[in-house]
């Protein structure tokens, strides 16, 4: 009885934490200014929120299968969420999604431009070489 009381108290704590993160993530998805900021809010908050909710559930129910399934879901989320967010951010950048006007730097675009310049130089060198030959 006392053990269940302590476990339920911790479950309440983690449930509140998980719900808080979930709500903050949803508000961030609505309120932040551009795609990249929204991705930041969504991915981090949904991972943390889901972890809190699953921890609360495993503390409250506490049987072996529930704990095993919670661990499986958390492991899957920790692998899949960064991968999905990264893919989405990269696709949005490639699609030239508009950025917030106060964004300080766009280093991927700089790198891409540099790579293009390097390729162009290499091509002109090749051409000059073939001409010389």
């Amino acid at each position: 009885m006392t053990t269940q009381l302590i476990l339920d108290t911790f479950a309440i704590f983690f449930l509140i934490a998980g719900l808080f993160f979930m709500l903050v993530g949803a508000i961030g998805v609505v309120r932040l200014p551009d795609v990249y900021h929204r991705l930041h809010a969504a991915s981090k908050c949904s991972t943390l929120g889901m972890m809190g909710l699953l921890l609360a559930a495993s503390l409250h129910v506490g049987t072996g299968d529930v704990i095993a399934k919670s661990i499986a879901v958390v492991l899957f989320l920790f692998v899949s969420n960064p991968v999905g967010s990264h893919m989405l951010a990269k696709a949005a950048h490639r699609d030239k999604a508009p950025q917030w006007e106060n964004t300080l730097s766009d280093e991927l675009a700089k790198d891409k431009a540099q790579a293009n310049v390097g390729e162009a130089k290499a091509e002109t060198k090749k051409k000059s070489k073939t001409r010389a030959a």
């Binding site: 998805v29 929204r38 949904s46 889901m50 299968d65 490639r94």
Partner: protein, 142 residues
């Protein structure tokens, strides 16, 4: 039949089974009632989050906005399933949470590939002009 009706009604009322139910119910801690109240609040909070994501999905200026709203919505629905699992004290709901999170991830990856691929063709001017010609041809044929 009509004579038996009061007996049937008494048997169907809640108080008739109160003793039997309390005998089969497991012992519950002092924090059980606050936890159940909190799960009700949690269902409300998560549904509010789903509505906010729906707003972003409708409004989203870019396709990536809509996709990320869908991803967050899948995560919120998985959280809703877990909260209901706490509320109904069942272990069957966790499979649903796993399935919903896997589907959310798969759809996000598929849409990210779609967004990136559409841009790749647009980068290539020859391909883009061919696309434009194909579209106008199709429109003409239609």
């Amino acid at each position: 039949m009509l004579d038996a009706l009061p007996t049937i009604l008494i048997a169907a009322s809640d108080t008739a089974h109160a003793v039997a139910d309390s005998a089969t119910e497991p012992a519950r801690s002092l924090m059980y009632t606050p936890l159940m109240l909190l799960t009700r609040l949690g269902v409300g909070v998560l549904v509010l989050g789903v509505l906010l994501c729906l707003w972003r999905m409708i409004k989203g200026p870019h396709l990536a906005d809509r996709v990320l709203a869908g991803d967050t919505m899948a995560m919120l629905v998985a959280g809703l399933v877990v909260v209901l699992a706490i509320k109904y004290d069942s272990s069957l709901y966790y499979d649903a949470a796993l399935v919903v999170s896997i589907l959310g991830f798969a759809s996000t990856v598929a849409f990210a590939q779609y967004i990136g691929a559409s841009r790749k063709f647009a980068d290539d001017p020859a391909q883009a002009s061919a696309d434009g010609k194909g579209q106008t041809g199709e429109e003409g044929a239609a």
